[in-house]
């Protein structure tokens, strides 16, 4: 049985993908913000698929200290129960903020949660993914287009705009996937970014102010059910030979921003290593 880890798996796209993958016979390890959310997610999955094999871990992945604890628990679990193999890591966790807010490290929260958390969790689980010749999938967004990384002020402290911060973090997702492919494709690892499209989830209603809340509540009415994007994740996991592309929408390869260059991907990779206090090269050898 292949093991898949999904972050942000207690609602929306993450939960739907978790359910679908259990139906396909995967063992799904979910990660959620709180224990209560996790228990509710398990209940929903079991109700719709009584045969599902799933466990959930909880933690606030935006805080690096919490992420390290969760990563440690996941490592131990994978080693003890999954033969040390992780077939796919779906870095789906993400959020929206209305204001400039920081993590305990003083990092802007959207950057920390939407990008750094994925960067660091992938690092910690890399040996397990490598052992399974697995896949890493990020939840991106089409909104990554038409924006550049603001290298001089990557936390966007000057003139913070919540939407800009969100878009930039989604550009980071695809740059990270590209950097992983460039470095580790020969190690047998493939990385992807999924554009879920506009989906009816509560992303804009969690930890946001009134304005973002109202706008999102109106906007999400146009959105599709999370079942639609979930298919793309299933497709990327189920294809026997790893698909060649980088960016997928509705199970098809899509064009992505011109900003997704080698130079930007490397620069973000180095910056992220510094901000997380890690070095991928300490853990893996590029083949």
């Amino acid at each position: 049985m292949k093991t898949v880890i999904i972050t942000g798996a207690t609602s929306g796209i993450g939960l739907e993908t978790a359910l679908k993958l259990t139906l396909k016979g995967y063992f799904v390890i979910g990660v959620g913000h709180s224990r209560e959310n996790c228990d509710m997610a398990i209940e929903q999955i079991m109700r719709r698929n009584p045969e599902a094999k799933t466990v959930f871990f909880s933690g606030e992945l935006m805080q690096q200290r919490e992420l390290k604890r969760v990563a440690f628990e996941l490592e131990r679990y994978l080693a003890e129960n999954c033969n040390g193999e992780l077939y796919a890591l779906i870095n789906n966790v993400g959020g929206v903020r209305s204001w400039y807010q920081t993590t305990q490290e003083g990092y802007e929260q959207q950057f920390a949660l939407n990008h750094l958390a994925s960067f660091m969790l992938t690092y910690r689980l890399f040996p397990y993914i490598e052992k399974a010749l697995g896949r890493v999938i990020m939840t991106g967004s089409n909104s990554h287009k038409g924006i550049k990384i603001q290298w001089k002020d990557v936390m966007l402290k000057k003139g913070y705009n919540p939407l800009t911060a969100y878009k930039q973090s989604k550009l980071c997702n695809i740059l990270f996937a590209k950097a992983l492919n460039d470095r580790y494709r020969r190690n047998g690892i493939a990385a992807y970014t999924v554009d879920p499209g506009l989906v009816k989830t509560n992303i804009g209603n969690k930890q946001t102010g009134k304005l973002v809340n109202v706008i999102w509540s109106l906007r999400k009415k146009q959105g599709v059910s999370p079942e639609i994007p979930a298919e793309t994740y299933v497709f990327l996991c189920e294809s026997r030979d790893a698909p060649k592309g980088l960016y997928y929408y509705l199970c098809r390869e899509q064009k992505y921003s011109k900003e997704v260059t080698n130079e930007n991907a490397d620069r973000l990779f180095e910056l992220s290593e510094k901000l997380c206090g890690i070095k991928y090269s300490d853990l893996v050898t590029e083949l």
Binding site: W99, Q104, E105, Y107, K158, Y160, Q207, G209, L275, C276
Partner: protein, 268 residues
Amino acid sequence: MNVMITGASGGLGRALAAECAGRGYNLFLTDINEQGLRCLQSGLERQYGVCVTARKCDLTDDESVDEMLSVIDRNGIEFDMLLNIAGMDFEGGFLDRERESVVKIVSLNVEATLRITHAILKRRRAGREFSLVFVSSLASLYPMPLKATYAASKRFLSDFALAIGQELKSQNVKVLTLCPGGLPTTQEAISGIAAQGFWGEMTTNKLETVASRTIERALKGKRMYIPGTVNRTLSLCGKLLPRSFIAAIIYKRWIGAQSKWLSLESKT
């Protein structure tokens, strides 16, 4: 430039620490939350490559402060700036709160601030300008029913800041009082802002702007910084209207907002 920041691991403290680190200042951070301090220290070092020292300290405890001061003295650290951020409030009316917690507000916001201010002023770098910042509040401008102790403690700070600023002017010490409205620092603060409805959003300040302008103004030698046009207008009203009248208005406003906020909190 050596800067001490108290209450550094809270939302405003972190934002000001990042602002100072971005300017390349050396930081001495203190807070009662050691874990938070460690995270912030490594975050600032990684992001800005500046020299950060962090030490846990309970500013309400003389012994704890003395221990920290002995470390400072052993290393011969002298300061150019002190940002007094440490402060607290508990929600609920005066009699709805525990006796200890009401007193604790004053011992941290007032007593502890005096304790550390005195100690660091004594350790300021000789022959240089020194900047001192007190975080007061929009609440300090009015008598505030249901936030009576907090508002009065902040009033103490703004009056004290103005007076000590005059007193130490000739010794090259510049004193700034920051009076922010709501700051979206924590989930709790954000739900507090939401519970106040329209006026909550209107009086809320942007954290990153407040942080950068506070340092800017402290260096320029300004005495008072009230962020936001709405807040400045409200503060003017506070000066023009009779204080008992203001207290009555605020009570009406807060009694609704607070019960809404408390019910929101109990739900989450």
